[in-house]
């Protein structure tokens, strides 16, 4: 179950947003300042954050920095009372999924929240897939890992044997083990699996 984390120093707005989101069926957690929010924040929980950049933009952006570092990539929607292009650019560049100017239409906000939650969901799915691949990789012996890298690079058994200084027959055995441990039946499948990991890393 996803949680929408609401941070706004204005109690009235906080209460209004909380009511709106609750009415739409979202689970919310509300905070009036950045410090309290960071204390309570659990990156493991699915969901997104709606943060009022507040008057003090530095504090809003600083909070975003903290989230990016320790927040497990929590999607952030910024609300601001005073929209300024430099602030918006800075916020988006730092990874905000949206930047909305108050007062904001409920539908706009809700749509932004939904897409942020979807993003979070997708991210979490990928993260879990990544974790699975890493767990499979961890089960390989060092020699099997070396052979895996060679296979993914598209080399033949004969070439691999030559590069690793082993008999072609031995490489053939390692290859069978790798395919088995990684749970794939073809080289193509193996490459797809590994490329997901590569993507995650470069993302």
């Amino acid at each position: 179950m996803s949680v929408v984390w609401l941070v706004d120093d204005d109690a009235a707005i906080l209460r209004g947003l909380e009511r709106l989101l609750n009415a739409e069926g979202f689970v919310t957690r509300c905070f009036q300042d950045a410090a309290t929010f960071l204390d309570a924040h659990d990156p493991a929980l699915a969901g997104c954050a709606v943060i009022d950049l507040g008057l003090r933009e530095s504090s809003g952006l600083a909070l975003q920095d903290r989230l990016a570092k320790d927040g497990g990539g929590r999607p952030v929607i910024f609300l601001t009372g005073q929209s300024s292009i430099p602030t918006a650019v800075q916020a988006m560049r730092a990874g905000a999924v949206d930047y909305l100017t108050k007062p904001v239409e409920a539908d706009t906000l809700l749509a932004a929240i939904r897409s942020a939650l979807e993003l979070d969901h997708a991210r979490r799915r990928q993260l879990s897939a990544e974790r699975d691949v890493r767990a499979l990789l961890a089960s390989l012996t060092p020699r099997e890992s070396e052979v895996l890298q060679e296979i993914v690079s598209g080399r033949l058994n004969k070439q691999i044997a030559h590069r690793l200084g082993a008999a072609e027959k031995t490489i053939k055995v390692h290859r069978g083990r790798v395919m088995q441990k990684m749970g794939v039946r073809s080289v193509a499948e193996l490459v797809t699996l590994m490329s997901r990991l590569q993507d995650a890393r470069s993302a």
Binding site: A12, G16, R19, A106
Partner: protein
């Protein structure tokens, strides 16, 4: 000389002549001893009503009244008895008949004495000497010429309908009549001449009253009227001139000044001068010169001219105008010019001062206006600075209201709706509306433009309202504000927006002064104190770098700003507002680091 004549106490031909003769003599006579003094006999044809100088021997023959041979013989006996042995040096004779008498009898009472004569004209000469030239007899011949007088009258009265001539019934008067009628019959220069027949004085006067005012009246001589009344000619002239509707002209200068308009007459002063000269020659024993003919001068009485409305401009060139009463302007021209100059200078000064004063007030008014506009502009600049945070101040409640309203709509759509929650939502919406409204009200109070009114205010309220406006801005800058307000209201009299402007300026200045400091150090203290005397102070202290004592006045000068984009009028305006409230605004020594500025407002507020 002419001007002085009216001042003489006695105006008569004889007196003037004698006075002048005596004056000419004086220097000569006093230089000599008693024995060598000249002996002079004046023989006067007329009577003794003519006053004469006593120092000389004067005899009046009174020949107009006593002219039968017996009287003349008596006179001769008297003169011989009285003067025969004196050895007279000269005899002065006035009058033609007297001259002929003296010439005939000179050897009896003044043997060898030269005779100087005067007081008659050419005609008289003929009467007296029958055209003879005698040794030791000479004098001055007066110009009694009615023609030139008539010419003058015609020049001045060109439109006269007639000439009316009057003369009396005495022998002398009748001589004038015959002299006149022998020359002029019925007309003179195409103008009818009417010689009034001999009549009584009253008849003459009555006739004169009925004359056409444009007529010319020529008075020859009236010594005696038809009923035997005697006159001095000058007396009659005066009466006639007064009665006559028309201007009266005369042949004698002595009559001009008695109402006679004028005439072409001798100038008696020059006649007297000539007689005097001749007498000196006679006394010195030198041979007498030829008789001197005095020329007649057109002469008028200015007053009489005025009375008859005659135009001075018509007078021939060289005319004498007697009794001229100069106008104020003519008489006191220099004085009047000086007075006028002084008055003009004063007027100019007064106008200058009035103008200056008006300009001063106008300038003052426009300065006041400009100052109030400047105050307003400066205030708006400050508010502009706050605009972002003020927009936020209004935006926040709006955002809350919107969120609540959207939530409320959704909750209301459920079955069953959570009415308790909906009630809470409406309560919150209401609160937020109030919040936005109060921000706007605060703002509008500060932005009010127009008449600056003074009212009783609570300085604490001013501080609170201003800090509420600046709150977002201050928070945004990370400034912590501490309000240390006097308990209870701090009553002052003043203009709310202007006082708020001071507070806003001081607070924002303080905040800006702390820009470079770490957030924890950014503290701002605003305090009010209500002093026992009724004065109130507002103190704003910051933790910034402070202002060196020698700069504390400099910063109040207009266009002095430490801020790169500052206009530098904020503090100058604040001080002028404080001054307009009868108060003061100045930096004082801070308790710690930073700047400390104090606004003092007088007890009971201020003048407007």
């Amino acid at each position: 000389m002419a001007r002085k004549l009216p001042k003489l106490p006695v105006r008569s031909l004889v007196s003037v002549l004698i006075l002048l003769a005596a004056l000419v003599f004086a220097g000569h006579a006093m230089a000599q001893s008693d024995d060598t003094r000249p002996r002079l006999l004046f023989i006067v044809e007329s009577d003794s009503r003519l006053p004469l100088v006593k120092a000389l021997h004067v005899e009046y023959l009174d020949m107009l009244r006593f002219n039968d041979p017996r009287e003349l013989e008596l006179n001769r006996t008297f003169l011989v008895e009285r003067y025969g042995g004196l050895g007279l040096d000269a005899v002065m004779v006035l009058g033609a008949h007297a001259l002929s008498y003296v010439v005939a009898n000179r050897e009896a009472f003044a043997p060898g004495a030269p005779i100087v004569y005067g007081g008659f004209g050419e005609a008289g000469m003929m009467t007296a000497l029958s055209g003879q030239t005698l040794p030791d007899v000479s004098g001055v011949i007066s110009p009694f010429d009615f023609r030139s007088t008539l010419d003058l009258a015609l020049t001045v009265q060109p439109d006269a309908p007639e000439i009316v001539v009057i003369t009396g019934s005495a022998r002398f008067d009748r001589q004038w009549r015959s002299a006149f009628t022998s020359v002029i019959a019925d007309t003179y220069r195409d103008l009818p001449v009417r010689f009034l027949p001999e009549a009584t004085a009253d008849e003459y006067l009555a006739e004169a009253r009925t004359l056409d005012p444009g007529a010319i009246v020529l008075l020859l001589s009236v010594n005696l009227d038809a009923e035997g009344r005697r006159f001095l000619p000058v007396q009659f002239a005066e009466a006639l001139a007064e009665a006559s509707a028309a201007p009266v002209w005369s042949l004698y200068e002595t009559q001009i000044g008695k109402g006679i308009v004028g005439g072409t007459v001798e100038d008696l002063s020059s006649t007297g001068r000539e007689i005097g000269k001749m007498l000196r020659t006679a006394i010195a024993g030198d041979p007498l010169a030829e008789p001197v003919k005095v020329t007649a001068v057109p002469t008028v009485d200015w007053r009489a001219m005025q009375r008859h409305g005659l135009d001075l401009g018509r007078l021939p060139k060289g005319s004498r105008i007697l009794f001229y009463e100069p106008t104020l302007w003519e008489q006191y021209r220099v004085f009047l010019i000086a007075v006028a100059a002084v008055v003009a200078a004063q007027t100019a000064t007064i106008f200058g001062l009035v103008f200056h004063r008006r300009r001063y007030f106008r300038t003052q008014a426009s300065l006041d206006l400009e100052r109030s506009q400047l105050i307003h502009v400066s205030r708006n600049l400050r508010l502009g600075q706050l605009s972002a945070s003020l927009a936020h101040e209004i935006n926040q409640p709006l955002a809350a209201i919107q969120a609540n309203a959207e939530a409320g709509a959704r909750i209301a759509g459920r079955t069953p709706p959570d009415l308790v929650e909906i009630g809470a939502i409406f309560q919150d919406i209401n609160n937020d509306v109030r919040r936005a409204a109060s921000t706007i009200a605060n703002l509008r109070r500060l932005m009010v433009k127009g008449e600056v009114t003074m009212e009783r205010l609570d300085l604490n309220e001013i501080v609170r309202a201003t800090l509420a406006l600046a709150q977002s801005e201050l928070a945004n800058s990370g400034v912590q504000v501490r309000q240390v307000l006097s308990p209870g209201p701090v009553e002052v009299s003043g203009n709310g927006p202007q006082l708020q402007q001071i507070v806003l300026n001081l607070v924002l200045n303080a905040s800006e002064a702390m820009d470079g400091l770490p957030e924890a150090a950014k503290t701002l203290r605003v305090s009010t104190v209500f002093h026992p005397g009724g004065a109130a102070t507002l103190t704003v202290e910051d933790a910034g770098p402070g202002i060196p004592p020698d700069q504390r006045e400099e910063v109040f000068r207009p266009f002095v700003s430490s801020k790169p984009l500052g206009l530098g009028v904020g503090l100058a305006i604040c001080r002028s507002i404080a001054a307009a409230h009868g108060g003061s605004l100045a930096f004082v020594d801070p308790e710690a680091a930073g700047a400390r500025i104090v606004l003092t407002l007088p007890p009971g507020g201020a003048r407007t």
